[in-house]
């Protein structure tokens, strides 16, 4: 709103040659933000904050980590016992991964509730899904590095997913492994990629923010900014709100780091990897569990399509279907506040995802197989049937004329 002005000659000289100060002024200070954002809008900046923590702790961990099968496990234990504050940095990194996913899941469900993926924010949404996919890959690769039993067998099970594809499957798996089983070549390439991907994610986040600043933030009412009264500058209003969010989040995050650092982990990963013995119950990290449940929901071969291939396709499909969501959702209204039917189905969908997560963490036996299958069917039913149909049959509540209109009306009444 004010644009960038300075009396400092050096800053001015630099800004005329590389407008970095103007850009910061434009996108972090003046950026017009809807005045009515609630706390669900804190989670994007929180996720960005955790990304920075992950990169910082990761860079320091690497200084003491050895990516060789004969040394990896011991080097991590050395970080825990001998390296100054190694335990803290590793626990920050370990729990940071779980925090990153908690924040991003809340961020994604915020979008689902408030319809933030709808026009004109489809590309913003897509970039977000790509970030999420890159996070899943990074998390998986990172979990392999300590070379414990879960590292090894998680890597074995997940890379074996690709063998489900006919003909090309086996060569792909051999290529991923760099051998005939998960072994040293696999560990060293996973390490290389685990170091690379966070920087890719960082680049994607830049694109994500660029797209956001082009189409502007959605808001709880789901109506666009129409008048200057609808928006406030990002600084100081949202910088301070985001900082407050970071304070609250740090209390939550550090509570795990200091008092329950292995809460999200598996005890089996403190046993060194043994290619000859599979742990009795292999579970992936918690953030993959809903997709693991979808993978295991398919138990019968259909014609020549094996149950395994069906599971793999469904698992990837469960994420890829999100790309089509802006078109599957036929409602013109964004916010669930004005969508009485969708609002209920949103909560049902959230519960369905939690059920899938629960089933994914348990051994596949008995009633849980059926529960997993029903929950998987409902997952796809939500996107493929409910979203298109609801938009047609639902009668939305009347939308306010603008973001500021309800506030100004209340004032007029008072």
């Amino acid at each position: 709103m004010s644009g960038f002005q300075t009396n400092n000659k050096v800053v001015s000289w630099l800004d005329q040659r590389l407008p970095i100060f103007s850009m910061m002024q434009h996108s972090a200070i003046d950026y017009p933000t809807p005045r009515n954002l609630n706390y669900w809008w804190n989670f994007g900046s929180l996720a960005g904050f955790v990304l920075v923590i992950m990169i910082l702790t990761g860079v320091v961990l690497v200084m003491n980590y050895a990516s060789h099968t004969s040394m990896a496990f011991d080097s991590v234990e050395r970080i825990m016992r001998d390296v100054n504050y190694g335990w803290l940095i590793r626990y920050l990194h370990m729990n940071g991964a779980s925090m990153f996913f908690i924040l991003v899941y809340i961020h994604i469900f915020r979008n689902l509730y408030y319809g933030s993926y709808k026009s004109p924010r489809e590309v913003l949404w897509w970039i977000g899904i790509v970030i999420y996919l890159a996070m899943m890959a990074t998390g998986f690769l990172g979990y392999v590095l300590p070379w414990g039993q879960m590292s090894f067998w998680g890597a074995t099970v997940i890379t074996n997913l690709f063998s489900a594809f006919p003909i090309v499957g086996e060569p792909i798996v051999t290529w991923l492994w760099g051998g005939f089983s998960v072994d040293n070549p696999t560990l060293s390439r996973f390490f290389s990629l685990h170091y690379l991907l966070p920087f890719v994610i960082f680049g994607l986040v830049v694109l994500h923010v660029w797209a956001l600043h082009t189409v502007k933030s959605n808001n709880p009412l789901g109506v666009e900014i129409k008048t200057p009264a609808d928006a406030i500058p990002f600084h100081p209003y949202y910088t301070i709100k985001d900082l407050f969010g970071i304070g609250v989040f740090l209390m939550f995050y550090l509570a795990f780091v200091f008092w329950a650092p292995n809460f999200f982990g598996e005890p089996d990963n403190y046993i060194p990897a043994n290619p000859m013995v599979t742990p009795p119950h292999i579970v992936p990290e918690w953030y993959y569990l809903p997709f693991y449940a979808i993978l295991r929901a398919f138990t019968t071969d259909i014609w020549i399509i094996s149950a395994k291939l069906q599971g793999v396709v469904a698992m990837f499909g469960a994420i890829l279907i999100l790309f089509a969501l802006p078109w599957l959702d036929t409602s013109k209204v964004r916010s669930a506040r004005f969508r009485p039917l969708y609002r209920q189905f949103f909560w049902l969908f959230l519960i369905d995802c939690l059920i899938l997560g629960y089933v994914g963490g348990k051994p596949a036996e008995g009633i849980l197989i059926t529960v997993g299958q029903i929950a998987t069917a409902y997952y796809f039913f939500h996107f493929l049937v409910l979203m298109p149909v609801l938009g047609r049959i639902e009668k939305p509540k009347p939308l306010p004329a603008s973001i500021s209109a309800p506030v100004l009306k209340e004032k007029a009444h008072a």
Binding site: T159, P185, T278, R296, D301
Partner: protein
Amino acid sequence: MADSATHAQPSADGETRRDFLLYATTAVGVAGTGLALWPFVHSMNPAADTLALSTTDVDISAIQPGQAITVVWRGKPVFVRHRTPEEIATAQKEDGASDLRDKQTDASRVQKAEWLIVIGVCTHLGCVPLGQKSADPRGDFGGWFCPCHGSHYDTSGRIRKGPAPLNLPVPDYKFTSDTTIRIG
């Protein structure tokens, strides 16, 4: 017409020599980049020293009937099982069983009926099935049981129940003497 060298001359359908050069350059560039990418892709395939570790010699003289040992071949467990006459008989009798989803006769999976040699990696998602030790669960068919997702293999290593699609694969091996085998 003849002096097309001076300027790009549109042909009947609006195409010019410049368009042709552009397409040709793009095609060569794409193909060249693709070829240049191959060494990077192929560098991730098994290296020469990994491939060189491709045979394992096993002394089987000490394995009594009913016992099994696990040996490492190419980083994977290989099950060498000295089958009892009952196990052989069951495996052969069930050659035509309707629950065989990857149909193979027992005879086609062994060189000597008493020695069953299979790669000990579940064909579902790569876990190591249980059943090598006498105290292990061996599943409903007396062979192996995979604890990860519940696949049952019979005394010929064939998949009978559970999510795995294929039988436990038989590696290439030969008897180098009566009491030794070479896998690979």
